[in-house]
Symmetry: C2
Subunit: 347 residues, 2 copies
């Protein structure tokens, strides 16, 4: 064991490559070769080294490897927070995919550096991580501008950024909203309220567009009064729902731009003593896990959240292996999930 001279150094002494080399009676670069793979090493030597390493309980020091060779085998994930079914499902996908790889995950939450996004990203990109997955709803440019070079590998999830060709994974928001609205029509609804998300989010505006397109196609006039402002949160959905339900001509169905808002709208409906789906139909978007736990179970549009995470990782690793590769955008399909929160309007 090499004894650290530095007293402020981390306490736990560790076995290094040098110790293993001595134990095995070879030079320490040979040991390095054995553990960094790929190099040719005599089978017998390799065995000796592995045995020695095992005896000593050797484990590589990833920092040192990274410093010396360049790769940390860590990818960074930047998110607003993980206390949200939507994000944690995507993270689950990321995690799953990473499990098949040699990479580990560094989790960065944005709230820590509000207003200092640029510095944060620089710190992140400088050294520790090989690439970055950005799952941040807003102000992407603040983050992206700070990337140390044009070609630092990153991928955007669920948002598009047109100023710079960026590797991106998103879903068919427009189509999903279009399909869902048509489903409501097929049930006989024509007065369909819409609880919007923040318009700066392109997922939100695409969904609104899909809703409007379906209206148009059904030759139902678009009525701005039926669109209430929400913000993708249950609280916002609740308030928007209240507004919609107070309307003189109450909608018979409400399309909330995401599931969380739909939950809020459900609460609002209950406050009006309205039966769901008897008196009012409610639908959401995303199909987060809670959507099938609430009562009644929510009809919604499924985004392949887990798959989004997986694809994000795959795209990033692809980029890592082949930096020359051009940025590309993968748009995954959505799917109508019919559950118990809709019924034909009362006659």
């Amino acid at each position: 064991m090499s004894v650290p001279k530095n007293p402020r150094k981390k306490a736990h002494s560790s076995v290094t490559i040098v110790d293993v080399a001595r134990e095995a009676g070879v030079s320490y670069s040979t040991v390095s070769r054995v553990f960094s793979g790929f190099e040719f090493v005599n089978e017998e030597t390799r065995r000796k080294v592995v045995a020695a390493a095992e005896r000593l309980g050797y484990v590589v020091n990833l920092q040192a490897r990274s410093l010396a060779g360049g790769r940390s085998n860590i990818i960074g994930l930047l998110v607003p927070g993980i206390d949200n079914g939507y994000i944690s499902e995507i993270v689950k996908g990321i995690d799953q995919e990473l499990a098949h790889s040699q990479y580990d995950l560094m989790l960065y939450t944005t709230h820590r550096y509000e207003g200092k996004e640029a510095y944060y990203v620089k710190l992140i990109a400088n050294g520790l991580v090989d690439g970055l997955i950005l799952l941040v709803p807003l102000i992407i440019e603040n983050y992206l501008q700070a990337l140390p070079t044009q070609d630092f590998p990153y991928v955007l999830v669920d948002q598009v950024y047109n100023e710079r060709p960026s590797t991106t994974v998103d879903v068919t928001n427009w189509q999903g909203a279009y399909d869902l609205t048509n489903y409501l029509f097929s049930l006989g609804h024509t007065r369909i309220g819409f609880i919007a998300g923040l318009n700066e989010l392109n997922s939100a505006s695409e969904r609104l567009d899909g809703y409007r397109a379906a209206l148009k196609q059904q030759r139902v006039a678009y009525n701005p009064a039926l669109v209430a402002e929400g913000d993708y949160t249950p609280g916002g959905g609740y308030r928007a729902g209240l507004n919609l339900l107070r309307l003189p001509e109450r909608p018979t169905a409400i399309f909330a731009a995401n599931d969380l808002s739909a939950f809020g709208a459900m609460d609002a409906a209950r406050e009006f003593n309205l039966d769901i789906p008897g008196d009012i139909s409610i639908v959401g978007f995303d199909d987060i896990p809670q959507a099938s736990i609430v009562y009644p179970k929510l009809t919604t549009v499924r985004q392949p959240l887990i798959q989004m995470g997986q694809v994000a990782v795959r795209l990033l690793l692809e980029k890592l292996d082949n930096p020359e590769k051009e940025a590309r955008r993968v748009t995954l399909g959505t799917e109508l999930v019919i559950r118990d929160s809709c019924a034909p309007p009362r006659a």
Copy 2:
């Protein structure tokens, strides 16, 4: 900018301490002093250095700092996965507390190394992180044994390990279960089914003990037939719920050992066309966010999940700052949360 000689090195060139030193016209150890804090540096020199660094856009390389003897300022978190309200709430607390500190978070999920826990922990502890928070339900010893030295800083969340004095944060599981059972008694229930968690988890066994203690105190005979085996998942809760409801003398209330199981039990009750809480009362434990979203809203025992995460971080940082400090155990209080899933039994 120093040009890396190694072609496989990460593409993005970065500004180093040497560049800053040259720019500022000082030696690079002075630059180091400026950024690693604490050392005495002439105020004017410091200003020059800071200015130069800013001009160049310098950011420290944490790996190098860590390797050289400093701290990585990263703590590791080991969890089974984050797709679970219980865990993600705790993580939220961890994240919040970390935000006030200089530390970043490395997220490790256990499923990647099943059967290789020891190796995994070694890898984690060896180098990259300064300390570790273990939020792993089972087989803790496999993990702990592998810690490089006796004094590698770690803290256990929601589990106790008696073989070695360990810094721990947990909650009053026994008391919570006791209180909750008594609440059910106060409503008039006496036939109270219990859906257990895995008995190896001490949270699960403590809750069962609390339930039994309340029974005893109320002089109600303990009936093993009323205890169904669950596993802390909705699926397990559903099956256990079914078993309980099939009993000749059906319980009038069900105490599920955690909220997730309670959700499963609710589904089971609905399958029997039982009204909750009219025909049967159901309670859970944990108060995860979903508990107030399900319908009817779940009566449960609140664990201060966020606070648990915060305390875990605080304990770890405390240990990091003062390695000599003895391990201690912090047990946080639980609290009865009465919502809509209980009513007196039908006469």
